[in-house]
C-alpha cells in the first residue's frame, strides 16, 4: 500500500464487510477502440492467472466486446458481468490538466460506469446507448443526457468513475460542492442502493487528493464506496501498446502526446492481494466489489431475445399463414408438365418441413424472408437464396431459392433439424448496387429503425495496418512506412520467410536498433486487436421493433444505415438470427444483361428457363471461361478440361470441387480421375451406390454424408445431421464416440460386416470436414450456367454488364476486354461524342454489336461532370472544337480536359488531329477567358502550328492504362511479337501446339498472382499476351529467390518446362527475368 506508514488516519466510514476478495468492475477492453490495449480474451486469461472469479467489462459507450467476453468467460468458468462506461454530456466537461500545463487534451463529456443487475437493466443499458447513438446524425461517440439516464435507470448499478468520471471533473472545476451536487443527481436517478462512489489508486498525487474528497463526500451522504482500477490493459507490459493507441486516437506521435499518455503502468488488471493491500485503509471499498458482483445477476445467457414476429391477419396464425403461402408456391412451382410428377412428393415434403418449422417456432422468420422476396419481385429486383436453404422445399415454394430440392433430391435436414439447436440461416443474393440498397432500406422502413440493423464487422489490425499505424505513432516517416506496407503482403500461403522481421529487413529497417525492435514488437502485439467498427457487407438482424433491447444500435458511416454493436459471429453465438442480403456482382451483371439483350439483340431471355445448350458446355470444357461466375479462376480453368461438364449437375460438381475443402480433403483428384475414366468407379459399400452414384462414388457433398448414414444405419435426417456436425466440427470426442457407436449399431442391424463398417466410417470421417453443401453448389451453379450462357450467346451485353459492375470477379477490366476482343467483340474507346457514363452497346454498319467504353472508365472524372457533358451533347449536339467543349461544359476543369485528351476521348473532334494535339489545345482552352473575349466566335486554341509530335505506341499505351486502366488497341505484347518470335519466344496460343515436356520461353503481362493456402507455397502466375493466357507454376524455392521480381514486375520473361495434360497447359518455371515491354502501368489482380 500506499500512504501513511506511522501515523495512519482511519477512514471515516465504518467497515461493514471484511471479506477480502476483490472483483474488478471497471475494465475497458480493446473494444473501447484505441482506449485499451487488451482484448476480452486476454482479461479472462489474466483473471484465471490471478484467480479472479468474476469481473465486469465496461467498454466506452457500448457493449462491443460483451459477446466475446461472455463467450470466453463462460468457457473458462469466470462470471462475466456486463456494463459500459457511458458519456454524459449533462455533466459538462471531462477532467483535463489545467490550461497552464501544456497538454493536448480535448474536451470530452465525463463518463460513468453502469453495470447490469438484471435483464431489465441490460435492456435499459442497450436502449440508453441506442438512444444517444441514434440521436447523432453521423457515426460518432455521442453522449447521454440526464433525461436519458432517468428514462433507462432501472436495473442498473452506477459507479461514479475515476479521473474520467463526473465527480473528478466537478472537483477540478468547481470544488467539492459541485461534486456533491453531481452525486446528488446520480443518487436521485439510480437510488441510494444502486450508486457507489468509485475510488481508484494508480499512485498519483492528484488522484489521492480526489479520493480524500470522495471519501468525505460519500461519508457525508452515507453512500457506499467501491474500489476499482479503471483497467485499460491486462498486464503492465501492455502499457506501451496503450500509449501507442492513445497517440493513434489523438492523431499524434508518442513523442508529442505528452500528458495524453499514461503516467505509469498501473492500469492493468491487478490481483486481489494487490488491491486489498492498496486499499487496506478502506477495506469497505474492496468488500463492496464482492457485494456488487453478487448483486449483478445478469449474464448474456439471459439475453431476452425473442424470435421475430410477422404481422398476419387476425384470423391467422403465422404457421397457418406460412402454410397457405407454401401451398400456393408449390402449385406454381410444380405446375409445368415436367415438374408435375414431383408435385405430391413436394407437398409431402412441405408438410414435413412446415411441421418442424411450427414446432421450432420459425414461421415468423420464413415469412420475413418471404416478404423480402415479394418486395424484390414487385420491384423487379433479381434475388436468389443461396446456401443450405436450397435444401428446403418451403424455401423453393416461397421463391426464396431457385433450386428444386425435390428434383435434385436434396436433403432438408442439412438446412434445418430439430436436434441442431441453431436458427435457420438464409442468405439472399441481390445485384450489388442500388437494388440491394433499396431492399435494405425497405427492411428499415418495414421493421422500424429500432427493429432492424446491419450486423457489425469488427475491423482488426493486420500486418499492414499495424505496421503503418505503429510506425506513424513512433514518428517514422511516411516514405519508409509506405515501403514497409507494400512488402507486408497478404498471401494466403505464408512461408517460413513471410515474417514481419523479414519484411522489416527488406524495407531497410534494422531490427537490431532498439527503437526498430520495439516497433516490431508492438506491431506483433497489436495484430488482431480491434481497430474500429465497420458494417458487415450484408448481414441484417431483424427483431420486430425490439432490437434495441437486445443489443445497442448505432449509426453506420454510410447514410441511412444503422448497425448493431456485435459482429456476425457474436450475433450467431448469442442466438440472434440474421438474414444475409449479399451483393453479388454477377447478379447485377445478369440484371444488366437482361435489360440490354432485348434492346440490342431483339430477343428475350428468361433466366428461369435457360436451355441446356451444348455450345455452352463445349465452351466450359475448353476452359474458355474468363468473366464467368465461379468457373473463371485459374484452378477452375485447370480442372474444367479434365472434368468436361456435359450437363447441369456436372456444373454443380465443378462449382463445389474447386474449393479449399475438397482439395484438402483429397476429393478432387479421385473424382477427376474417375471422370476421365482413369480410375474405376467404386463404392464403400453397395448400399451406398444410390447415394454416391452422381459423384462417381466420391463423397463430395455434405448431403451425401447424411444420406449415407440414413441408408447404412437407418439414421433419421436429424440424427444424420447431428453426426455430420459432430464429425465435421469435432466438438466433443465423447459425442462423436456415441454417434459412431450408434452408427455401427445401425449398420450391424442392416447386415453390414465389420470390415465394411470400418470402410464406411473411414469414408464419412475423412470427408466430413471438407464436404461442400450440394444445395449451395446448386444455387451457384445456376448463376454460373446463366453467366456462361450469356457470354456465349450475347457477348457484348454480358461484357458490358461485367464492365459496368466492376470491381468483381477474378480478372481486371483490361483482361476482360482483351478476352472479349479475342472472341470477336469490337471495343471502342472512350469518346466524348459517343460515350455515356456507363459502357454501352453500339451497332456497327454490318448490324453487329460493339462495345463502347463509358466515361466511368476515365479515372478521376466525376460522374456529375460526365453527366453535364452528356446533357450538353444531347441538348446542343456534338462538340465542334476543344474550345466549344470547354465553354459548353464549364464543369470540366483543365485536369478533366487533360485526362480526356490524354486517353484519346477528344480525338473525334474535327479539329483534333491526335491526342497530343488535343493536349496542346486544351492547355489554352481550359484557361478562363476574360469578359472581353468571352463571346468571341473564333477559336484561339487552334492554330496551324502543330508543334507536338504524335504519341508513340508506348506513350499511347501508358496514357491508356494510366487514364482508364485498359486499352482498346492491341495488347502491348503484340508490338513486340516479331522480335520475340525471332528470339524463340512462343505465344500463349502456340503453347497448346507445342510438345509436352519441352522447354519453352514465353513473355507476357502478369494478370494474376496466387499463392493459395492449399498449394504448399507454390505460386501461380497468369501471363497474358495478345493471343491468350498462359499459366505458370513457380516452385517455393524459385519464389524465395525471386520474390521481389515476381511480386512487383509487370512483364515477365519465363523459361520453363511445358506440361500438357488433357488440354490443360502449364509451364513450370525454371528461370524468370523481367522484360522491357512498355512503361504502361498494367495492374495485376493478386489474390491473398
Amino acid at each position: 500500500m500506499l500512504f501513511m506508514t506511522d501515523q495512519e488516519s482511519k477512514p471515516a466510514l465504518c467497515i461493514k464487510n471484511t471479506r477480502e476478495d476483490y472483483i474488478e468492475l471497471h475494465i475497458a477492453s480493446a473494444f473501447s477502440f484505441l482506449a485499451s490495449s487488451s482484448g476480452p480474451d486476454s482479461y479472462i486469461e489474466r483473471a484465471i492467472e490471478i484467480g479472479m472469479p468474476a469481473m465486469a467489462l465496461t467498454d466506452r459507450n457500448g457493449l462491443y466486446g460483451a459477446a466475446r467476453f461472455h463467450a470466453s468467460a463462460t468457457q473458462n468458468g469466470v462470471k462475466a458481468h456486463i456494463g459500459a462506461e457511458i458519456a454524459v454530456s449533462s455533466f459538462g466537461k471531462h477532467s483535463v490538466p489545467p490550461s497552464w500545463l501544456p497538454n493536448l487534451h480535448q474536451d470530452e463529456p465525463p463518463r460513468i460506469v453502469l453495470l447490469c443487475k438484471s435483464q431489465t437493466g441490460y435492456q435499459n443499458l442497450c436502449q440508453l446507448i441506442t438512444r444517444f447513438k441514434m440521436r447523432e446524425t453521423t457515426k460518432t461517440e455521442g453522449a447521454a443526457t440526464f433525461d436519458d439516464l432517468e428514462e433507462f435507470s432501472e436495473g442498473l448499478i452506477c459507479l461514479t468513475g475515476g479521473e474520467e468520471g463526473p465527480l473528478a471533473s466537478a472537483l477540478d472545476h468547481d470544488g467539492e460542492a459541485a461534486a456533491t451536487k453531481h452525486l446528488d443527481r446520480l443518487t436521485s436517478i439510480y437510488g441510494r442502493n444502486n450508486i457507489y462512489v468509485e475510488l481508484q489508486r494508480h499512485q498519483e498525487r492528484e488522484e489521492e487528493f480526489r479520493n480524500a474528497c470522495f471519501l468525505s463526500i460519500a461519508s457525508r451522504m452515507s453512500l457506499p464506496i467501491v474500489a476499482s482500477n479503471g483497467v485499460r490493459c491486462a498486464s503492465n507490459a501492455d502499457r506501451e501498446l496503450l500509449d501507442v493507441f492513445t497517440a493513434i486516437r489523438n492523431h499524434t506521435t508518442v513523442h508529442q502526446a505528452g500528458r495524453l499518455l499514461s503516467r505509469n503502468s498501473l492500469r492493468y488488471l491487478r490481483s486481489s492481494p494487490e488491491m486489498v493491500e492498496m486499499f487496506r485503509d478502506v477495506p469497505e471499498a474492496i468488500a463492496n466489489t464482492r457485494i456488487i458482483s453478487e448483486r449483478l445477476e445478469f449474464t448474456l445467457n439471459n439475453l431476452g431475445y425473442e424470435f421475430p414476429r410477422y404481422p398476419v391477419p387476425n384470423d391467422e396464425s403465422m404457421d397457418s399463414f406460412l402454410a397457405k403461402r407454401v401451398e400456393e408456391g408449390i402449385r406454381k412451382r410444380y405446375a409445368s408438365s415436367l415438374k408435375k410428377p414431383l408435385l405430391e412428393r413436394a407437398r409431402k415434403q412441405a408438410q414435413h418441413e412446415l411441421e418442424l418449422i411450427a414446432k421450432l417456432g420459425f414461421a415468423g422468420y420464413f415469412l420475413i424472408v418471404w416478404d423480402i422476396i415479394c418486395h424484390c419481385q414487385r420491384n423487379g429486383f433479381l434475388v436468389q437464396g443461396r446456401g443450405s436453404a436450397a435444401n428446403s422445399v418451403v424455401c423453393f415454394a416461397l421463391e426464396i431459392t431457385a433450386v428444386d430440392p425435390i428434383g435434385m433430391e436434396l436433403l432438408f435436414e442439412r438446412f434445418l433439424s430439430e436436434s441442431r439447436g441453431e436458427w435457420p440461416d438464409i442468405d439472399l443474393d441481390l445485384p450489388s448496387g442500388d437494388h440491394r440498397e433499396k431492399v435494405i432500406q425497405h427492411i428499415y422502413e418495414k421493421y422500424g429503425a429500432l427493429g432492424a440493423a446491419m450486423t457489425a464487422n469488427v475491423i482488426t489490425y493486420r500486418g499492414r495496418s499495424s505496421a503503418r499505424e505503429v510506425g506513424k505513432a513512433l514518428g517514422f516517416d511516411e516514405q519508409q512506412l509506405s515501403k514497409l506496407s507494400v512488402l507486408v503482403g497478404h498471401w494466403e500461403w505464408r512461408g517460413a520467410n513471410d515474417t514481419m522481421e523479414n519484411h522489416f529487413g527488406h524495407s531497410g529497417l534494422d531490427i537490431r536498433h532498439p527503437l526498430i525492435g520495439k516497433y516490431l514488437e508492438l506491431c506483433t502485439r497489436m495484430y488482431d486487436l480491434p481497430r474500429h467498427l465497420g458494417q458487415h457487407s450484408g448481414g441484417m438482424v431483424i427483431c420486430a421493433g425490439m432490437l434495441n433491447r437486445i443489443v445497442p444500435i448505432e449509426r453506420a458511416s454510410m447514410p441511412g444505415r444503422t448497425v448493431v454493436q456485435w459482429d456476425k459471429e457474436d450475433c450467431a453465438d448469442l442466438g440472434l438470427i440474421k438474414v444475409d442480403l449479399l451483393g453479388l456482382g454477377m447478379m447485377a451483371v445478369l440484371k444488366d444483361s437482361l435489360e440490354l439483350i432485348p434492346r440490342h439483340y431483339g430477343e428475350q431471355v428468361d433466366l428461369a428457363s435457360l436451355p441446356e445448350d451444348p455450345l455452352v458446355y463445349q465452351t466450359l470444357c475448353k476452359a474458355d471461361t474468363v468473366g464467368m461466375f465461379q468457373v473463371e479462376s485459374r484452378a477452375q480453368m485447370a480442372s474444367l478440361p479434365h472434368n468436361a461438364p456435359g450437363c447441369f449437375y456436372d456444373v454443380v460438381v465443378q462449382v463445389a470441387i474447386i474449393r479449399p475443402g475438397p482439395i484438402v480433403g483429397k476429393m478432387m483428384h479421385p473424382y477427376m480421375r474417375r471422370r476421365q475414366g482413369k480410375e474405376e468407379i467404386s463404392y464403400p459399400h453397395p448400399l451406398l451406390e444410390s447415394v454416391l452414384k452422381r459423384t462417381l462414388g466420391v463423397p463430395l457433398f455434405q448431403e451425401q454424408l447424411l444420406r449415407m448414414a440414413m441408408v447404412v444405419a437407418s439414421f433419421s435426417g436429424s440424427e444424420a445431421e447431428e453426426l455430420r456436425r459432430a464429425v465435421g466440427m469435432r466438438r466433443s470426442m465423447q459425442r462423436m464416440r456415441n454417434l459412431e457407436g450408434r452408427l455401427r449399431e445401425g449398420m450391424t442391424r442392416n447386415g453390414i460386416n465389420e470390415a465394411e463398417q470400418d470402410n464406411i466410417v473411414q469414408a464419412i470421417s475423412s470427408f466430413a470436414m471438407y464436404g461442400f453443401p450440394e444445395s449451395h453448389a446448386a444455387s451457384f451453379a445456376l448463376i454460373a450456367y446463366a453467366s456462361a450462357y450469356l457470354k456465349v450467346h450475347y457477348l457484348a451485353a454480358f461484357v458490358c454488364g461485367l464492365l459496368n459492375n466492376q470491381p468483381m470477379g477474378f480478372y481486371s477490366p483490361a483482361v476482360l476486354i482483351k478476352d472479349a476482343q479475342r472472341h470477336g467483340l469490337r471495343v471502342r474507346t472512350i469518346c466524348i461524342q459517343r460515350s455515356d457514363w456507363p459502357c454501352t452497346i453500339e451497332h456497327e454498319m454490318d448490324n453487329t454489336q460493339s462495345l463502347r467504353i463509358g466515361l466511368n472508365y476515365a479515372k478521376g472524372l466525376r460522374q456529375s461532370t460526365a453527366e453535364a457533358l452528356i446533357a450538353s451533347r444531347i441538348s446542343q449536339g456534338n462538340f465542334r472544337s476543344v474550345d466549344d467543349l470547354a465553354s459548353r461544359v464549364p464543369e470540366l476543369n483543365r485536369k478533366d480536359l487533360s485526362l480526356l485528351a490524354q486517353i484519346g476521348a477528344l480525338n473525334s473532334i474535327n479539329e483534333v488531329a491526335h491526342r497530343r494535339d488535343a493536349l496542346w489545345q486544351i492547355q489554352q482552352a481550359g484557361r478562363p477567358v476574360g469578359p472581353l473575349l468571352r463571346n468571341r466566335t473564333s477559336n484561339p486554341s487552334v492554330s496551324n502550328n502543330m508543334p507536338l509530335r504524335k504519341m508513340t505506341i508506348d506513350e499511347r499505351l501508358a496514357a491508356d492504362y494510366s487514364g482508364t486502366g485498359l486499352t482498346c488497341g492491341p495488347h502491348p505484347m503484340k508490338y513486340h511479337r516479331d522480335s520475340l518470335r525471332r528470339k524463340g519466344y512462343v505465344s500463349a496460343n502456340e503453347l497448346q501446339r507445342s510438345s509436352t515436356n519441352s522447354f519453352v520461353r514465353i513473355a507476357g503481362s502478369v494478370i494474376a498472382r496466387q499463392r493459395p493456402g492449399t498449394a504448399k507455397g507454390f505460386v501461380f502466375l497468369s501471363l497474358e499476351d495478345e493471343t491468350g493466357i498462359a499459366n505458370v507454376i513457380i516452385t517455393p524455392d524459385l519464389f524465395e529467390r525471386e520474390r521481389v521480381l515476381i511480386t512487383r514486375t509487370r512483364f515477365l520473361d519465363i523459361e520453363g518446362l511445358l506440361q500438357i495434360q488433357s488440354g490443360v497447359v502449364h509451364i513450370k518455371a525454371h528461370c524468370i527475368r523481367p522484360i522491357d515491354i512498355t512503361t504502361a502501368d498494367l495492374r495485376s489482380h493478386d489474390f491473398h
Binding site: 506508514t5 500528458r259 503516467r263 503502468s265 519508409q480 531497410g508 534494422d510 493536349l919 496542346w920 507536338l948
Partner: protein, 516 residues
C-alpha cells in the same frame, strides 16, 4: 528557328567584331558530401563509398561515389539496405567537413577569377566564374578548363566544367554533363538540346504538362513556338524558352569579399588589470560600431578572443537582446562578461569579432507609459547570466510530459497577466534541489525509514507514497521513478519535509525537493 528576341539578345551582347564580350566557366562538383570526405581519404576513393545523413535509426544515403552507384546504391537507401549490398564503406555526413571542403573548393577557383557567383544545386557544390579576358593569362577556353580541372584535382575534387558565353547555358551544361565542355558561340541551343527539362526547376504541374506533351529535353522545349507557348503558360514560359535556347540573360552577382567586423590588438606588455583591458576594448568597440553604422547595421554579438600568457586561450561571446550600436551599453556588457569569467592569466592579445545585425525598428507608442530602456534589461540579464550561467537565465517553459520537473529555459518574456488563482497560491511550494542529492536510504518493508544526506542522518517520521511515474519507454531517456513525500528529523531535532525519489533505472535514491 531564330526568334526576334534572340536576334535582339545577340546584338546587345556582341562586341564590334561580332563576338560577345563575356565568357563564363561553370564548375559543378556533384555528390559533394562524399567528395568532401573522400578528398581527405584517398585510400577509399577506389572503393564503393556512401555518406549517410540523419540520425539513427533513420539514416539515409545522401551522397555516394561512382563505385557505389555501380553496386546499385541509390540516394535515400537506409543503412540496412546498404549493408545488405555488402562491402560498401559507410561514411557519416558532417556539416563542418563539408563547409571546409567548400571553402577549399572556392579558394582553388579564386585562382582563376576574382568574380565568382555561387549557384545552388542539390547535393553539389557549384560556382560560375566570370573568366572574361583571362585568355591572355590562362590560354583559350579549353585550356582554362583543363587548368581548373587540374587545380581542383590537386586538392582532391572531381568536377564537370563548362565554358560558354552565356551564364545559364554554362551553369546548366556543367550540371548535366561530365568532364569538360566548351560551347562555341551560337551553339548554345544545340549544346543544351539533350539536357533534361528538369534543369529548369519548374513546378510539378508544369512538368506533368510537358510530360504529357512528350517534351522531355530542353531541345524539345526550345522547338516550341514562343507565341503559342506564352498564351498557355504566361510570361514565365518566355524565360524557359530563353534558358532552353541558351540566350537567357543574367546579371552576374559576384561573391563579395566577406565583410568582417573584427578588431585585433597585440599588447607589447601583458595586461593584468581589467580596467586597462576595458580601456582598449572601448576603442575597439567604438571602431566596430562606427564600421557597422556606416553600413546601417548594428552589433548583434561580439566574440572576445584573448591569447593569454602561457599560450592559453580565452573565448567568450556577448549577445545583446537586440542588435545595438550603443557604445556604453556594449562596453558595460563586456565588462560584466569579463568580470563574470575573468581570464586566468595575463592577456597577450585581444580580438573582438562582431556579428552585424539590423537596427531595432520598433516604433514606440506616443501614448504608452514610459518604459525603461530595453538595454537596461539586457544589462540585468547579462549580470544574471554572469552569476548563473547563460543557459540558466530566461523564462522557464513547462513541457508537455509527465516527467517530474520537466521544463526548459526559453527566451525571457514578461507575462502581463497577473496570476490571481488564490486556490493555487495557497498550495505548498516545492523547492527543487538541482542537481538532486544522492541519498543513502534505509528501507523498512519497502518504505523509507531513514536516510543520510551527506553526513547528516535523518529519521523518517512519515512517508507518503510511493507516487509512480514512468514514460518515454521508446527512447534512451526513459524514466521510471518512485517518489515519496517524507517528513524527517535529524539528531539535533531539525525537521524537514522533502521529496525523495527512487530512480529505478539507475538504482539511486535522490533528494529531489523540499516542501516550504
Amino acid at each position: 528557328m531564330v526568334s526576334a528576341r534572340y536576334v535582339e539578345y545577340r546584338e546587345t551582347r556582341m562586341k564590334s567584331r561580332g563576338q560577345p564580350d563575356c565568357l563564363y566557366a561553370a564548375v559543378h562538383a556533384a555528390e559533394f558530401p562524399a567528395q568532401a570526405i573522400l578528398r581527405l581519404r584517398p585510400d577509399l576513393r577506389s572503393h564503393p563509398c556512401v555518406v549517410l545523413a540523419g540520425s539513427p535509426p533513420e539514416e539515409r544515403v545522401c551522397a555516394l561515389n561512382l563505385h557505389a552507384r555501380k553496386r546499385g546504391v541509390v540516394h535515400g537507401m537506409t543503412r540496412l539496405e546498404v549493408d545488405e549490398l555488402g562491402n560498401i564503406h559507410i561514411l557519416t555526413c558532417f556539416a563542418e567537413t563539408e563547409a571546409t571542403a567548400r571553402n577549399v573548393f572556392l579558394e582553388t577557383l579564386l585562382q582563376f577569377s576574382p568574380r565568382i557567383e555561387e549557384t545552388f544545386a542539390t547535393n553539389a557544390s557549384a560556382f560560375v566564374l566570370d573568366i572574361t579576358g583571362t585568355e591572355r593569362l590562362f590560354g583559350p577556353p579549353h585550356e582554362i578548363a583543363l587548368r581548373i580541372r587540374s587545380a581542383l584535382s590537386t586538392v582532391g575534387f572531381r568536377a564537370s566544367i563548362c565554358i560558354c558565353t552565356n551564364y545559364d547555358t554554362a551553369r546548366i551544361k556543367a550540371e548535366f554533363s561530365s568532364g569538360i565542355s566548351v560551347i562555341p558561340y551560337e551553339k548554345e541551343s544545340e549544346a543544351l538540346a539533350p539536357v533534361p527539362i528538369s534543369a529548369l526547376h519548374l513546378e510539378l504541374e508544369h512538368y506533368e504538362t510537358f510530360a504529357l506533351w512528350g517534351i522531355g529535353t530542353l531541345g524539345e522545349l526550345a522547338a516550341l513556338p514562343e507565341e503559342e507557348l506564352i498564351p498557355r503558360f504566361g510570361q514565365p514560359s518566355r524565360a524557359w524558352l530563353a534558358l532552353s535556347r541558351g540566350y537567357a540573360e543574367h546579371t552576374f552577382q559576384p561573391m563579395e569579399a566577406r565583410f568582417e567586423l573584427k578588431e585585433h590588438i597585440e599588447f607589447e606588455t601583458h595586461i593584468e588589470q581589467l580596467d586597462s583591458l576595458l580601456f582598449v576594448c572601448s576603442n575597439m568597440i567604438n571602431n566596430l560600431v562606427a564600421r557597422a553604422s556606416s553600413r546601417a547595421l548594428s552589433l548583434a554579438s561580439i566574440r572576445i578572443d584573448m591569447s593569454l600568457e602561457g599560450s592559453a586561450q580565452y573565448k567568450q561571446v556577448i549577445h545583446p537582446a537586440i542588435p545595438s550600436n550603443d557604445r556604453k551599453f556594449l562596453l558595460k556588457l563586456m565588462q560584466l562578461e569579463i568580470a563574470a569569467h575573468p581570464p586566468q592569466a595575463a592577456v597577450d592579445s585581444l580580438t573582438l569579432t562582431a556579428e552585424a545585425g539590423q537596427h531595432c525598428k520598433v516604433q514606440l507608442d506616443l501614448f504608452a507609459l514610459p518604459m525603461p530602456e530595453p538595454s537596461r534589461l539586457d544589462v540585468t540579464l547579462a549580470r544574471l547570466k554572469a552569476i548563473a550561467g547563460a543557459d540558466r537565465v530566461g523564462s522557464p517553459v513547462l513541457l508537455d510530459s509527465h516527467r517530474p520537473g520537466n521544463f526548459q529555459i526559453g527566451e525571457f518574456s514578461i507575462n502581463d497577466q497577473l496570476f490571481t488563482d488564490a486556490k493555487t497560491l495557497n498550495r505548498t511550494c516545492l523547492r527543487r534541489v538541482r542537481p538532486p542529492h544522492t541519498l543513502r536510504m534505509q528501507l523498512n518493508t519497502g518504505k523509507p525509514a531513514a536516510f543520510r544526506d551527506g553526513s547528516a542522518p535523518f529519521c523518517v517520521s512519515v512517508a507518503y507514497g510511493p507516487w509512480q511515474s514512468s514514460g518515454c519507454w521508446w527512447a534512451v531517456d526513459r524514466w521510471d521513478l518512485e517518489e515519496w513525500d517524507v517528513m524527517a528529523t535529524n539528531d539535533s531535532g531539525e525537521s524537514i519535509a522533502c521529496l525523495v525519489v527512487h530512480d529505478h533505472l539507475n538504482g539511486k535514491w535522490l533528494l529531489d525537493a523540499f516542501y516550504d
